[in-house]
């Protein structure tokens, strides 16, 4: 479930949702991953979602209740940064959710937003699975020099400060933007890259965290 950009990234741009007798079916992307996005409901790709908060809540509720999801291993909800209407609606509609994963870049400036997200989750009683540091350093493909473009270490630091698990750092790889624009999954196309390996290690930690809580 996502707002706008996931359909393109997962190769489902321009799809529409299919309606059948039991309800509305999600689109099916790479590896049979089922996707529902606001993007599928818009008349054309230029149409903005100029919906005020209460309408967003209605849309999120319908995505959760009227979509024929079938058996799922995981339901991932991709939300915009911050602590606005969308996460509040999801928290109210899914009070029993397994937890939240907070993704940040390394810089201190972005930690302002992370602190608020952690306080938000705690106030609403949502378990915090952990913090991921994305865009963590870039290694020049020519000479191998590492540049900490958005600084580094901020994710681990803020996780320790807030006593939240740190799930790992994902380095920047220019192939991510390339593959996303093509609609092919980077972690499959470039499975041996440091970024893919870091990503899969984070997935493993999330699965472990969920299992340990039963």
């Amino acid at each position: 479930m996502d707002t706008l950009t996931v359909p393109k990234i997962i190769g489902l741009e321009g799809q529409r949702l299919q309606v059948g007798p039991p309800g509305v079916f999600p689109a099916s992307g790479s590896f049979g991953i089922k996707v529902v996005s606001m993007e599928f409901l818009l008349p054309d790709e230029n149409a903005p979602v100029i919906w005020r908060g209460p309408l967003k809540m209605t849309a999120i509720r319908q995505f959760l209740s009227d979509i024929v999801w079938g058996d799922l291993d995981f339901l991932l909800i991709d939300l915009p940064p911050g602590t606005g209407d969308e996460p509040l609606s999801v928290a109210q509609l899914l009070p029993e959710m397994d937890g939240v994963v907070i993704v940040t870049i390394p810089s201190e400036v972005s930690q302002i937003v992370v602190k608020k997200a952690v306080t938000f989750a705690r106030k609403l009683g949502l378990p915090i699975i952990g913090i991921v540091e994305n865009m963590s350093g870039f290694v020049c493909p020519k000479c191998g020099t590492r540049s900490d473009i958005f600084r580094s270490g901020g994710g681990r630091k803020i996780a320790e400060e807030l006593s939240v698990p740190f799930l790992g750092s994902i380095p920047i790889d220019e192939k991510v933007a390339e593959d996303s624009d093509k609609g092919v999954p980077f972690i499959v196309e470039h499975a041996d890259s440091p970024a893919s390996k870091a990503f899969m290690e984070i997935v493993r930690k999330i699965e472990e965290s969920l299992k340990s809580r039963g």
Copy 2:
């Protein structure tokens, strides 16, 4: 006017707004730039703004009407990505604004959001000053190799496609994150960098565009 992170970037972290007889005074940052941010109104830095849309509208209205701005050259309103409650509130409260500047990264994925922002501005009758391509390529400080981390050229392409002025591309510079975390202005600390020069050229184009319209 901004939601959360500008106070830190401009060296005003932890400030509070001063109240006097005529109203509430903005904080004053580098070069006398006056700043009002939601951050100044929160009880502490961890507090999230869990405000639903209608409350956001109230806050934006108060920032515009109850703050003693004094004489300003420009009033810049920094908004989150997308076309939600915040830009809609601003458009309704400031129907005579000079225009909007849309900032994007080069990748096609982000152009999905740009297209919607342009349609949004047009629907509401807001002049579009132009599109800026941020994070446009990174030059390795060691060997000089350019990597198009988030691809390149997407800003100009989408501007042409939508018949909107293209204002310029700003390359990635790791000093931006460093200076932002320190609260010092990058364009002054590193005025000779390609990123600062590109930024100032964009400022010049914006001023020109505003002047030409009187």
